[in-house]
Symmetry: C2
Subunit: 248 residues, 2 copies
């Protein structure tokens, strides 16, 4: 029994692929609430619960979010779409009600970002166990000013990513990851030469996989260099929680 | 079959409690690698995989980490202890090998923090499905300079939290969370009055639970006010990735 249980969980985790096309089937509210509950059961630093999720269903607002995320049509098409936020507003409201001053800093920003991500990943695992597909939408951070206009998020609540959820309408392959030796170490981070060798091995492995799947794309190393050639999303500092000022 | 599968996963997620005391039983390497694999299968922004985990087994280094985390003995006692890090070093090495300049900013810091947290939470769920207990150690951020001295983390690798893992040696109760209405909204974040009412309801519910469990502690609201009265961990900016400078 324990083995079956364990297998089911590991199968869900290892079976993850981002799903970008969905059937039109709606997500029943009972499934949504089950996922929210699972999300809330994730660890949270000192029980501060510094997160929230805003479900966006209105078609016009979804369309505006498609534009803001650089044309990601799935944001409009997903049966369920929510925006996961760092949320220190509750803490501030409580402090101010008690006549205290709430001061945020880089650490409160960090706490909320971690808390919200733990919450989201538990939701994702819950949804996937129920047969749904999910996709994180980091592109929401392309234009946080614009997203704020759509969501009217108050001070102390800042979008971290979106989540598309629905029944999968495609069966994408799971792309291989870096070898475990590249991300898991004993006692010390490896030297540069070893790390570059691990990455080269990954490039080789990925090239075989790309060829087998008929995908014509640059190798990982080249893609990473290109990806980080351009500094992205440099205008977000003001949005990152109350701590914004310290990032500006 | 699907239902059993789903139940097993939801049971694992909802059954989470932080475990702070462990039996002496070691964690077999096969279980560790299974959890690492599950972690690596989590979503990662554009496949950048901006994370790593450093396992610390050396007793003397563990003892130093106990001191740095404010005397958390479980950091020494856990059969398995690892430090989960944001890791943009691989990206920098690749950029520099290609003759490019790698520039980081608040967004790369954010990407890596999210990536590492998704990785960690999948590991946690995997370990818990195998019957292990886990505990996140955010206290590692109390003194990142000190932690760096212990781990010798290179530039571009910064500790986010520790993870204690082992067979549970206690059966803590699961503390109730905020009601779903406090963290999940339709279209808009609620007004302040509603939010404070939700929080007051939570205080009432928690008071009943504390009484039933014989725990004498301030209510959530008071604890939160007190918790954030003091700005914590304000000296970390320099450690938060290559982006450190922009936070200082």
């Amino acid at each position: 029994m324990q083995d079956t249980h364990q297998d089911a969980v590991l199968r869900t985790l290892v079976g993850h692929r981002s799903i970008r096309r969905f059937t039109g089937e709606t997500v029943p509210e009972s499934d949504v609430l089950r996922a929210i509950e699972a999300g809330q059961c994730a660890a949270t630093s000192s029980n501060i619960q510094a997160y929230c999720a805003i479900r966006v269903s209105d078609a016009e607002r979804r369309r505006r979010l498609v534009t803001l995320t650089g044309g990601q049509q799935k944001v409009a098409d997903a049966p369920l779409f929510m925006v996961v936020c760092g949320d220190t507003r509750r803490h501030r409201l409580l402090a101010e009600r008690a006549g205290h001053v709430y001061e945020s800093n880089l650490e409160t920003f960090m706490l909320a970002t971690i808390d919200a991500t733990l919450f989201a990943q538990n939701m994702v695992v819950a949804f996937e166990s129920m047969g749904y597909g999910t996709c994180y939408i980091g592109g929401l951070r392309n234009d946080l000013d614009g997203v704020h206009e759509v969501l009217s998020t108050p001070h102390g609540v800042w979008p971290i990513f979106g989540l598309c959820i629905g029944r999968p309408d495609h069966e994408p392959q799971r792309r291989p990851r870096l070898g475990a030796e590249s991300v898991f170490f004993d006692e010390h981070y490896p030297d540069d030469e070893s790390m570059l060798r691990f990455v080269d091995d990954y490039d080789d492995r990925l090239a075989v996989w790309y060829a087998a799947n008929g995908i014509d794309t640059p190798n990982w190393s080249s893609r990473i260099v290109e990806h980080f050639d351009e500094c992205r999303r440099t205008g977000n500092a003001g949005w990152y929680g109350d701590a914004g000022a310290s990032f500006a």
